[in-house]
């Protein structure tokens, strides 16, 4: 009796918690849809962006939608797929390549 009550209470609690999370997620999504999506869409429009900036290591991951036709794992755009080979084969070390640096304000 006590055990089924405890079990029922646990189920009730966790389903309520989950429902609450999903509901608050929905609310959050609504406000985002109202403010943040339009702003980003505007940004995309103005800068003419085509891709999400998620993987910056290679052209076909940085701009998957713009990648060359015979990029790795992409025979043609309709068959786009990528495999985590990039995370298995590490990037090589280029000799004498440029690098990015910054100069703090006021420093020579």
């Amino acid at each position: 009796m006590q055990r089924s009550l405890a079990f029922g209470a646990y189920l009730l609690f966790s389903s309520l918690l989950l429902a609450l999370l999903l509901y608050s997620g929905r609310q959050q999504a609504d406000t985002v849809a109202e403010h943040y999506f339009p702003a980003n869409r505007q940004l995309v429009k103005q800068l003419g962006l085509t891709d999400l900036s998620i993987w910056s290591e290679a052209r076909y991951t940085r701009h998957p939608s713009q990648a060359d036709l015979f990029t790795a794992f992409q025979d043609y755009p309709g068959a786009f797929d990528h495999f985590p080979a990039g995370s298995i084969i590490g990037p090589g070390c280029l000799q004498g390549s440029p690098s990015l640096s910054f100069q703090k304000r006021g420093q020579p």
């Binding site: 989950l18 940004l43 085509t50 999400l52 900036s53 060359d68 280029l94 100069q103």
Partner: protein, 384 residues
């Protein structure tokens, strides 16, 4: 209390007896569900983000192909395309990559013409030659702010300084994380691009329905080009973040295999102890259906509680802790990986599918192996 509840009570009591074993099962199960649900939440959120945000992308991007490579496109192509009926503005875009061999990051350099203030930018866009605007990821990685200067080395090994005049807010990270904006003229100078050429052309199409027709026309008129429609861009992201795509499928399938091992162990490993218990219960007057109900409750208790717990963990993981565990897995070698500040996009259908695909097989794996024992005559109990 009805017979069913009493049998549930016994199911829970008998699970409490094998605490360690059941905790282990629940832990593995929860972890599996959490992994699967995390993938579903993450991919769904990213797809939703891409679908909403990239709606602003150019209707058509026209690239030129040379020997199969993306090559610079002559600006006169723009004039030709602009003449096609239904085409609005054709904007030549100038962009390229810049590799930092120390941090092993590939940046995207983009030329801007339009100085009107875009949203989600602190400061302003570069206007004069020696200015730039940066994405939040770069600023965070290198610890710089507005007023500092960016140092780039061009292809002739000259060092050039650009003052940072604008930083994108983190709310746009998913788009601008590794972006470096320079005035277009300056970017041309930096890359030593001839004025008569561009990286590609962004084509505005008045009627959405005509995009594919126009793409065909362009391809026909300019056979060395490759038009990419907005729908294709959106489709790309739909595919990349589909759970069937490579990375996701890898994680997905390993989690699923873990689950199958768990279920398989359950399905095959009904212990002598369990068999004896079923015999005893039947001998003292339990019906076959009571025994099966008992096993059903056991399966349900494990799977339902693990499912709920796993889904809650997944939700918190993705939307409260920025996919802290799964993020690095899909990050690969990407150094400038955006902090996922994702908007919850939940597909209830997916959650129910996940529930169905984990709870039902698990219960079946608990109930079915007991079946054979539950239907045999209990007289063996008298002899054991």
């Amino acid at each position: 209390m009805s017979a069913r509840l009493k049998i549930l009570e016994h199911a829970l009591a008998s699970m409490a007896r094998r605490k360690q074993k059941n905790f282990a099962i629940i832990a593995v199960y929860t972890l599996t569900v959490a992994t699967l649900a995390s993938i579903l939440f993450l991919t769904q959120a990213l797809r939703n983000e891409a679908a909403n945000v990239l709606l602003g992308a150019p209707d058509l991007v026209v690239q030129r192909l040379l020997a199969g490579h993306h090559d610079l496109i002559p600006k006169q192509y723009a004039e030709q395309i602009a003449k096609l009926p239904g085409v609005g503005k054709v904007t030549p875009r100038v962009w390229g990559y810049y590799y930092d061999s120390l941090k092993k990051v590939n940046f995207t350099l983009l030329g801007v013409n339009d100085a009107s203030e875009p949203p989600l930018l602190a400061g302003h866009l570069p206007t004069s030659g020696r200015q730039c605007a940066l994405g939040r990821g770069i600023a965070d990685t290198y610890g710089v702010e507005i007023g500092d200067s960016l140092v780039l080395v061009d292809s002739k090994n000259r060092t050039l300084l650009y003052e940072i005049t604008g930083l994108f807010s983190h709310q746009s990270s998913l788009l601008t994380n590794d972006l470096i904006l320079l005035p277009e003229a300056e970017l041309r100078r930096f890359f030593a691009l001839p004025d008569s050429q561009a990286s590609d052309l962004a084509v505005q199409v008045y009627n959405e329905q005509e995009v594919s027709t126009l793409a065909k026309k362009i391809k026909h008129q300019l056979p060395d080009t490759r038009p990419i429609g907005k729908m294709e861009i959106l489709h790309t992201y739909d595919t990349v973040f589909n759970w069937r795509s490579g990375i996701m499928l890898t994680i997905f399938s390993s989690a699923l295999i873990a689950f199958c091992i768990l279920a398989w162990d359950k399905a095959t490993g009904i212990s002598a102890e369990e068999k004896r218990e079923i015999g005893i219960l039947k001998a003292i007057g339990w019906e076959t259906s009571d025994v099966l109900l008992l096993k059903f409750w056991e399966g349900l208790a494990v799977s339902l509680s693990s499912f709920l717990l796993g889904t809650i963990i997944a939700y918190l993981h993705i939307f409260f802790f920025g996919a802290g565990v799964l993020g690095p897995v899909i990050q690969g070698w990407s150094v400038l990986f955006p902090k996922f500040d994702l908007t919850p996009a939940i597909d209830l259908y997916q959650i129910f599918a996940l529930a169905g695909l984990t709870i039902i097989p698990y219960i079946a794996c608990t109930v079915i192996p007991s079946w054979k024992n539950a239907v045999t005559d209990p007289d063996s109990v008298m002899r054991s």
